[in-house]
Amino acid sequence: MSPKLDLLQGTLDLMVLQTLAAMGSLHGYGIARRIEQVSGDEVLLNQGTIYASLVRLEQAGLISSAWGVSSNNRKAKFYSITRSGRRRLATEAHDWERLTGVMDRVLAMNKGEEPA
């Protein structure tokens, strides 16, 4: 198995936003598990780091939170994305796509220059 990827600065926030946008309301553990599942266990994620991200997003008004009860009857804090969170997600996702496009081209250029 190849070593797990370190998360780039800021990518965790984007993942959280996307997860909430796709799944609706979720608690911290649910968000963490969802990201792990989607990433196919390829990212190195200490589940604990998600809480710094959550508080950052909440303070910026991109997500909101409320205490509720989980499916197996545990009291948990549920997060959901706000309207401005969705707007932010759209722009950030767009920026991310542009960045990956650029990165792809840059890396492809490197390969192309290699002598055959």
């Binding site: 911290g28 553990y29 963490a32 200490n46 589940q47 604990g48 508080v55 303070q59 009291k75 804090k77």
Partner: protein
Amino acid sequence: MSRLLRALGRLRAFLFRGRHDSELDAELATHIDLAVDEYVEHGMSLAEARRQAMIRFGGIQQAREQQREARGLMNLDILLQDIKYTLRTLGRDPGFTTVAVLILALAIGANIAVFSVVNTLMLRPLPFRNAQQLVWIAPPPTKCGMSCATYSTDAYDEFRVGSRSYQDVTGYFAFSSVDNLSLKLGSAPVTATSIDVIANFFQLLGVQPAMGRLFTADDARNGAPPVILLSDPWWRRQFNADPNIIGKAYDINGQQTTVIGVLPASFDFGAVFAPGTKVDAITPLNLYGPPRNWGNIITLIGRLKPGISLAQAVDEAARVAPSMCWNNKYPDSCGSYKGQVVPVSLKNYISGKLRQSLIVLWSAVGAILLIACVNLSNLLLARAAARSKEFAMRGALGASRARIVRQLLTESLVLSGAGAVFGLLLALTLVQWLAHQGAIALPLLSTLRIDGASLGWTVLIAVLSALFFGLVPGLRMASGNLHETLKDTSAGSGQSRKHERTRSILVVSEVALACMLLVGAGLLLRSFLHVLDVDLGFQPERAAAIKVDYDDNVPNDKTGDLTTQKRTTIFQQVLSSVGALPGVEAVGITDYLPLGQNRSWGTPFPRGVKVPDNLAGPLVYVVTSGYQRAMGTRVRGRDFTWADGPHNENVVMINESYARFLAAQTHWPNNDALGQIITSDPKGDPKNDLHIIGIVDDVHEENTDGEAGWQIYYPVTQAGPTGAELVVRTSLPPATLATSVMRTLRDLNPKQPLAEFRPIQSLVDHANSPRRFFMLLVAVFAGLGLLLAALGIYGVISYSVTRQTSEIGIRMALGASAGLVQRQVLVGTLRLAFIGVIIGAVASLATARLIASLLFATSPWDGATYIAMAITLIMIAALAGYVPARRASRISPLVALRAS
């Protein structure tokens, strides 16, 4: 938008961090529980599920810290943490904390108090609206006192009309005497002091009444009903702060006078224009009544138009001056003010003279603060050395250097903050006390207070000193090698040597600063002693003066002879009755006392000799026979007698300086003025001849530390006095006679107000008060500096003895005697002190210029002072070093060696 939201969120999170923390804890607990549930569902045992959940979570504490950092204000959090920690460590060492805070409180308190004085006198504008526009208009300073600093009413009118630079020009009557009001309230009249001002005085200064109204031009007309404005303190003291006082009339000096207003508490005439005197009320000056012919009586104050510079005003005044007349009735008096009309800024007139003293004072407290900081630096260094293991340990556990320095600086800030708080309390008391020292003849003293600027200054010096005394030990500490420090178990290693070097340098600089302070204080003290030694020309001890009320008014007295006769009779009665009291040695009456107000009446000159232009005339005193004896002034020739009547030959006495000057202008036998004739009548009418019957000692009439000017004495039997001060010389302390003198005066004149029986010494003290004030303050600061330096020396030496305990023990085990050990420690102390004294002395020599202008008959390089101060410092240093030296010599080698 979201950035602002985040900032608010952070602040909220910081304020309610307790609630946020518990919420987070609950959330994290749920997280773990949910994970455990999931693992258990997959068939793990509960213990294994828990373990796996923790692994996946990756450190609860870390997550907590990360979240806190993301949500709140980390720096503030750290600060609070540091402060909490600092308070705990300081609380564990109450001795150190008390000493440190005390030192800082003294130094900071002294600095705040002096800053308030400097701010009030020098930095802050005068307490008037747009005070920078106000100017004082006077001739360049001369010997002849107030008469030469004043103008006639005609000159005032001409100047006011002829100048275009001013919004308006006003002035006040400069010759009001103390206790010139006699207010009849109930049975016994009480006295008070009032000043006559030109009607536009308050409007020009921009002072609004607290109640009632100000003067108008109508109040100063001929035949206007008498009105008066009360000062706030007098209104409170004498009239019980009567809120309905406006419009009430009182019998003042025999006239029903209406109170038209009460001045605001912020206006104190004495504080601004007559330092050290109390002015109770203000009355309007009628420019078009009798004052028209009184000559130079008005001081001028102007308010410049906006945009007009002082230089422009000076130019204009020089152009206007030649057209000003002393009296419009005498055309040849026009132009006599040429070169005598010079505007200066009012502020400069009031406090300009004090500038140098204030700078010296400010430097002195600055030095105190420096010494205190050096001391603190030393104390902290010693503490830091003792705590070096603690810091090394924290460093080993991952604290960065910056973090440790930050912690140390927080400690310094907490210390200096506490010092500043106590210092502020100290300064408040001091400033409160100073503001009520009415007897100190310093301007604006009563307006002294701790204001916003003083508070700002407090914060500034507290922070600066914290940086200063915290940074050195902080950097020293943080720069150490962790490994070395952890290994360094006791004395003798390189690190402690380095510390000791720093500490020695600090002590030397402390001693040098203390030396400079001591030299300054010594020079000021010597000057003050010289001033006390000055022969004032009179003997202030055992003499006192009291203002005597008399009524010499004779209706329809065309020639003035009847008035003179009546006055002579009254004075004769007063003098013979008071003179007969037991314990009274001599009595006499004068209209002006020395070191108080004065005036001049032209320049009597030898007949046929032309009076030089712009010559300031002698000061005039109208006295009775016996006055000179009562004052203790020697007379060569004869005293006045009651027989020197209005129709006899005019007689005068003049002082030595004036006699010498006159003799040099002409040819008198033996160059002696005694028995010669002088005259001030340009036409030379023999009726106006003055026969010099006595030559008296030079009396210091304006100040104690200047040159005595010229004086001329006229008898009350021939000239009109402006009042009567009865001078009594006693064989007992003057205060014991106060009641019997007052009773005698009351028996003769039931209208005699209850005036104060003032010792002549108090006049001298009043004149000396600014010098005494500055000398005392600098001396107190020097004492404080000396104490702090001694503490510093003691601290360093005693610390180094402690560190060297085992070394000393070994040396004593090898045969060094107790005396030798003691001597060595003492020599070490004295070496530091000597270096400090030498540096301090050199620095004093270099800065002597600063203090030179404040000295009297003392050289700023006065050898005796330098030597005395050096000896004092060395002795104090020896004393401070003796205690630890003695302790060193008592070290038992056995105990010392076992201890290490």
